[in-house]
């Protein structure tokens, strides 16, 4: 296996981008990543996308995006693992470069979610759960994570205030990210007094519906060093699955796919979680960030909430989590999210994060992307 590095990154602003089409979003991000990389051609590409079919009525996305990026006839594959589609796209590109089959490979992700109304967006997202046995009975994604939250509160004494601290911290970080959809800072009271979506989750516990795209360009390390002054290595990838429906989980508060994917990625990198300087994790809901950090082994079960209250995951904490603002503040165009995590990590490891959100002395980082209510997860380890 060859060593692999990121040589180029690009993303669009995240938000409600009515003036930009699905294809233009992807091309804008991919073009930026190509121009940043120093490479003048691609050998292959992957596009993470959860549901072009339901959001914009378009499938066959590999062909569409290769065509409009002007790189046809290279191979281009659409990758889908619900909200972990971006992470799965990155993993596929990593494997293709590491294997020696291709040299310069683009991993992108895109979602255009605001061309449909709220009811349709809720429905499209709910297809990432068990459509026959969860969606059919009226489950929504906030509803599924709310059930996890209630179980977590019942078992460990986690409180709404602890959840609110996750949102406040991520908005504080996102206020410094020029690409964030909702850069406004918020307070704990604002979260607790915002409208209830699915008890105990308020609207400010939830990530938004977002349009956006992100892309990274990968190359073997020896080529990367010639093309780019600051190649960032990808040390490893881990992916795992779990039951798609909550009802088949032994322990509702434990995200086993996250746990297994993290273990695989860390073992492949020859590291432990203590060797990691910061993390970008899948905070689609505030409770998700807590459960993810517990599943990753950063905290014992039940301990992530109190740690959030103590500020341990803030930019100046012991393990900064979501310096980009996370899905919560930056936005969550589902297929693009896993790639946008890689974008932030490369920015930070290059020392180029804007507006004073640059973390000090960071060398290694971990990205954790998740599909559905934890039915799949992809974990990637990076090193400067």
């Amino acid at each position: 296996m060859r060593d692999v590095a990121v040589i180029g990154i690009g993303m669009t602003k995240f938000g409600e981008l009515w003036e930009k089409s699905y294809r233009d979003l992807f091309v804008e991000a991919a073009k930026a990543a190509m121009l940043d990389s120093g490479a003048d051609n691609l050998d292959s590409m992957y596009v993470g996308c959860m549901s072009g079919g339901l959001f914009v009525g378009q499938e066959h996305i590999g062909s569409l995006m290769a065509d409009y990026l002007g790189v046809a006839p290279i191979p281009a594959t659409r990758v889908e693992s619900a909200c972990a589609s971006g992470g799965a796209s990155l993993r596929a590109a990593f494997i293709e470069v590491a294997s020696g089959i291709s040299d310069i490979v683009l991993a992108g992700g895109v979602e255009k979610m605001t061309d449909v109304d709220g009811g349709m967006a809720t429905y499209a997202l709910a297809t990432a759960a068990d459509a026959e046995y969860e969606g059919f009975h009226g489950a929504t994604f906030p509803g599924l994570y709310a059930m996890i939250a209630n179980a977590h509160m019942h078992k460990y004494g986690t409180t709404p205030e602890m959840l609110a601290h996750v949102a406040v911290k991520n908005h504080d970080n996102g206020s410094l990210n020029p690409y964030a959809q909702f850069p406004a800072k918020i307070s704990v009271d604002a979260v607790l007094n915002s409208v209830m979506v699915a008890d105990p989750l308020h609207i400010l516990d939830c990530s938004p519906v977002t349009d956006g795209a992100a892309a990274v360009v990968l190359a073997p390390l020896e080529i990367a060093a010639k093309l780019n002054a600051k190649p960032i290595r990808i040390l490893s990838t881990g992916m795992a699955t779990d039951s798609i429906a909550l009802h088949d989980r032994e322990e509702i508060t434990h995200l086993n796919a996250v746990s297994v994917a993290t273990t695989r990625a860390l073992e492949m990198a020859g590291l432990t979680i203590g060797d990691i300087d910061f993390a970008e994790v899948h905070d689609c809901f505030t409770i998700a960030e807590l459960c993810v950090l517990e599943a990753m082994g950063v905290y014992q079960p039940g301990k992530a909430g109190p740690a959030a209250m103590r500020g341990e995951t803030a930019r100046d904490g012991s393990l900064p989590v979501n310096p980009s603002g996370g899905l919560k503040s930056k936005g969550h165009p589902v297929g693009a999210t896993g790639i946008a995590q890689a974008y932030e990590i490369v920015k930070q490891l290059r020392g180029e994060a804007e507006n004073g959100r640059q973390l000090k002395d960071v060398k290694r980082a971990i990205a954790q992307n998740m599909g559905g209510s934890g039915g799949s997860s992809v974990v990637t380890v990076f090193e400067a």
Binding site: G119, M120, T122, Y123, A126, A131, E132, Y133, E134, G135, F136, H137, G138, A139, T140, P142, G143, A146, M147, I148, N150, A151, H154, V195, M196, V197, A198, D199, P200, L201, A245, L246, H247, D248, I252
Partner: protein, 132 residues
Amino acid sequence: MAQTLTARVWREQPQRYRMIANRDRETGRVYFPPRLAAPGNLEAEFEEVQLSGRGTVATFTVIRVAPTPYADLAPYALALVETEEGAKLMCQITDVDPEQVEIGMPVEFEFRRLFDDNEASVIYYGYKAVPV
């Protein structure tokens, strides 16, 4: 919800109308909906089981922003119910103020109207749970 095919409605009736599950003969674990393969055992043998219709609330939420077919019903309680047989399933808890639902609450399943699909002129029925 785009679940408008006649064949699909018919195919799902054993679970929606009669709560038919299956049990792995070797491990005794009950699966709802029934499975063709057990985790780690492709050759598992199964027997059909009809769920007794009783269980307890394992966790729940109150859905206040509902998907389109249930928009008129919100707010409603949605729960994971652990059945007497050990299988868990997701369903609405009805005939009770949603705010009164609690973890550990004993419930019984009843056959109820779920929602209708105006486009296909189909009314969907299935199970909901009510407090005992």
